[in-house]
């Protein structure tokens, strides 16, 4: 028999209770009504269904707006005056032949021949490793900088010698309404131990020409520069667009075209992806703003992978916002060190690096595997850490070893990566002022690896580090504590569940617990014992911090587990769900099919 409560009141209470906002109705009457009313029970089931469906939803390809956002805000006044505006890249190139292009590079369409983007990425990377030297001249045409100056024209010159000598000279050839307008001449010189830039005092274009800032130029110099210093990274994507084309799924291959007698590959991407290249000639001075979704067409020399031309266009505008054309380029020239001797003018900052007289490229902080790079420089940083750098062409690897007191970066967002040595590291992707990094810790040592190598290569490098002593069981930094857990200790972790069924030969390898005030993450790795460290791993991740399934970009499918709905991402080989205990769990096993992974999931105890 139903209580005297109406369905309307019961359903309002059900809705509020689901949101932890209930309690208005007496439980006994409420429960009595619910037990007797199919409609209200359906209402209750439906609201759970909707919530579950929303939290199990799978996103289509979700965009990464990071680069676009950062580019948009980087043009604001908070800019670090020490930083060149662009992300550095590396330079690169090819054999030794001399290439001289004609003064102009008209683009003639030819039958398109589409190349595979991943192959292009590999070739660009290979070219970047073999480049010795490069020099080029560019014509730059820009629109939209100021309403009273519809078009500006520049001549740019670049000299590069691997791995860290770079010179940029930009001369403003524009016709301005009056002499009060600043000329956007920029000079930049970087050498292994020093960098220097001279640029006009910047002023927002809308305030020109009556800008309150006095006319003139400013100079800044960095002395005792650390190898591959992050704040003065060299804009080498203008030489070879290594950073721009690092992700093969980020650009579209249009085909092959002829550019003044040279076969050029035409690729298209957005400015948010191409800014390391597009901004390379804009390392200083004042330029028209570009938008993240502006289209960038790039024509790359098919033999050397040098960019021969690029254009930035925007819907609704008849002419390109920016057009850059290579008018001449040469590679393999012997470019003397004097060409890259940076003056010491203006404001001077001391980078604090002391180079060794004799290169020290051996020792416990030098990895056995360096991805084919060659020893480059070594020394001591301003904070007393030892540093050794390897380089080849525009690719580099930098290893910094500090004392045990250093826990720099431990409290920054990072991915905990297990190395095949049983150790672990903290991985961070490339940032505007840094390459990809991995931090490794020992009882008395903190080692940071920084590189523009691919992630997989960097992990291999890290795994080959012959660090003394075992990785500590605990590493603390800020409010974060990372603890290595033995299989016997798993029982003391309240939310930990272990698989009782695994594919043949698999056993526990490592477990890490990362804890902070917001909760804890437990990562357990299982490997195949017969094949030692070479077995395909099974990763079981459990978290009390994750309260709902995180968004993913894969074409995941919904599957059922006892007591929980889960989703399966076949490309990653990952099964995820939130259990009835509220704990997020994920099993990643790319080598196995769904039934096998489901078997592992069902065996968790």
């Amino acid at each position: 028999m139903r209580s005297d409560l109406s369905c309307e009141r019961v359903r309002a209470e059900l809705s509020a209770r689901l949101d932890d906002e209930g309690g208005a109705e007496p439980s006994a009457r409420f429960d009595a009504h619910l037990a007797d009313c199919g409609g209200c029970r359906h209402f209750e089931a439906t609201q759970h269904l909707v919530r579950q469906a929303l939290r199990l939803e799978v996103l289509p390809d979700a965009p990464d707006v990071t680069a676009g956002v950062m580019k948009a805000i980087a043009r604001r006044p908070q800019r670090d005056v020490w930083a060149f505006r662009i992300r550095l890249a590396s330079v690169a190139a090819i054999a030794a032949a001399l290439v001289v292009l004609a003064a102009t590079l008209p683009i003639l369409e030819r039958t398109p021949q589409t190349a595979q983007a991943s192959e292009i990425t590999q070739r660009v990377f290979a070219a970047a490793r073999t480049l010795d030297s490069y020099r080029a001249t560019f014509d730059i045409e820009e629109r939209g900088w100021h309403a009273d100056v519809p078009v500006r024209r520049f001549r740019g010159q670049v000299w590069y010698r691997a791995p860290e000598r770079f010179r940029l000279r930009v001369r403003d050839l524009s016709a301005y309404p009056t002499g009060a307008w600043p000329s956007n001449d920029v000079d930049l010189v970087a050498s292994p131990s020093r960098s220097w830039i001279r640029e006009p005092y910047s002023c927002p274009p809308p305030a020109l020409p009556g800008c309150a800032i006095r006319a003139g130029v400013e100079e800044r110099t960095l002395v005792r520069r650390q190898p591959f210093d992050g704040t003065t990274r060299i804009p080498s994507d203008i030489v070879i667009p290594l950073e721009t084309l690092v992700e093969s799924d980020a650009f579209e291959v249009v085909g092959t075209q002829e550019v003044t007698g040279r076969s050029a590959l035409h690729v298209v991407l957005t400015y948010s992806q191409a800014f390391p290249l597009v901004d390379a000639l804009q390392a200083g001075g004042s330029w028209a703003p570009l938008l993240p979704l502006d289209r960038v067409d790039v024509w790359l020399d098919e033999s050397s992978w040098f960019p021969l031309a690029f254009e930035v266009t925007r819907p609704g505008l008849d002419q390109p916002v920016l057009r850059v054309t290579t008018t001449s380029l040469r590679e393999g020239d012997l470019l003397g060190a004097s060409l890259f001797r940076a003056p010491a003018g203006g404001t001077i900052r001391d980078g604090g690096f002391s180079g060794d007289e004799q290169l020290r490229a051996t020792g416990p902080h030098v990895p056995r595997y360096v991805a084919g790079l060659e020893p480059y420089r070594s020394g001591t940083t301003g904070s007393g850490a030892t540093l050794v750098a390897f380089a080849r062409g525009t690719t580099y690897l930098k290893i910094t070893k500090a004392g045990g007191a250093s826990r720099a970066g431990l409290d920054e967002p990072a991915e905990v990566v297990e190395l095949r040595t049983g150790s672990f590291g903290l991985y961070r992707p490339a940032e505007p002022d840094s390459g990809r990094t991995i931090d490794l810790f020992r009882a008395e040592t903190h080692v940071r690896l920084e590189s523009n190598l691919r992630r997989e290569q960097l992990l291999e490098v890290a795994a080959s580090l012959p660090l003394e002593g075992a990785a500590p069981r605990k590493v603390r930094g800020g409010d974060k504590l990372i603890v290595r857990i033995t299989p016997e200790q798993l029982g003391s972790i309240s939310f930990a569940r272990r698989p009782t069924e695994l594919p043949g030969g698999y056993g526990p390898f490592s477990a890490l617990l990362a804890r902070d005030p917001r909760g804890a993450d437990l990562t357990m790795i299982y490997l195949q014992s017969e094949s030692g460290l070479e077995g395909s791993e099974i990763r079981v991740f459990q978290s009390s911090r994750v309260v709902m399934l995180p968004p993913i970009s894969h074409d995941a499918v919904a599957v059922n587990l006892p007591g929980a709905a889960a989703r399966w991402a076949p490309q990653r080989g990952e099964l995820e769900w939130i259990g009835d205990d509220g704990i997020y769990r994920a099993i990643r096993a790319p080598s196995f099919d769904l039934p096998t992974v489901l078997g592992i999931a069902r065996s968790l105890r």
Partner: protein, 181 residues
């Protein structure tokens, strides 16, 4: 929704771009997902996501920490979405879709339960918004109230109405059963 490390927020407020970038990386999928549900247009959602963070950067100096960071960020996203509504309304594009309850292909891919997706698509905007905020992101009534500028009681009522509408659409006809009371 998980909150960021206070250190990151403080650093971002102080102008540390790398700290702000960490916040972008951490929250962009949430903002995109929120935007996609409310605009049902993948391109519009991407624009909204980017605009949200650019606006957040401009105003993070005024974030005083008296609400959760995620609440503050979603309030900006909500404003961007409403700007998108207005912009789209001018183009008579998005409005038509919303009124027709028509989801774009991208939005159609965004849930794994088609019947739920179709039911959600029928909700008017003032009911859909709290459902997404509460059921998907776990905001409280108070937070949604702050975000939306309406009372907690109104949010509670809207959630009830939205769930009743969804229950009516999903499954057996429960209205008859209810009318027996």
């Amino acid at each position: 929704m998980e909150e960021p490390d206070p250190h990151d927020v403080r650093a971002a407020k102080a102008g540390d771009l790398s700290a702000f970038e960490a916040l972008v990386r951490r929250y962009q999928l949430d903002v995109y997902r929120f935007s996609l549900h409310l605009t049902r247009d993948a391109l519009a959602a991407e624009d909204v996501t980017q605009d949200t963070f650019v606006r957040a950067y401009r105003s993070i100096g005024r974030y005083r920490g008296n609400s959760r960071f995620s609440t503050w960020l979603f309030s900006i996203a909500r404003n961007c979405i409403h700007d998108e509504y207005r912009r789209a309304a001018r183009q008579a594009r998005l409005t038509t879709k919303l009124e027709a309850g028509e989801a774009s292909h991208a939005a159609a891919d965004a849930t794994s339960a088609p019947e739920v997706r179709e039911a959600l698509a029928t909700l008017p905007r003032d009911l859909l918004e709290p459902v997404v905020m509460i059921d998907l992101f776990g905001f409280s009534y108070r937070e949604v109230s702050q975000l939306s500028g309406v009372s907690e009681g109104t949010i509670k009522s809207r959630m009830h109405r939205a769930r009743q509408q969804l229950a009516d659409l999903l499954g057996p006809d429960v209205r008859e059963d209810a009318d027996e009371i």
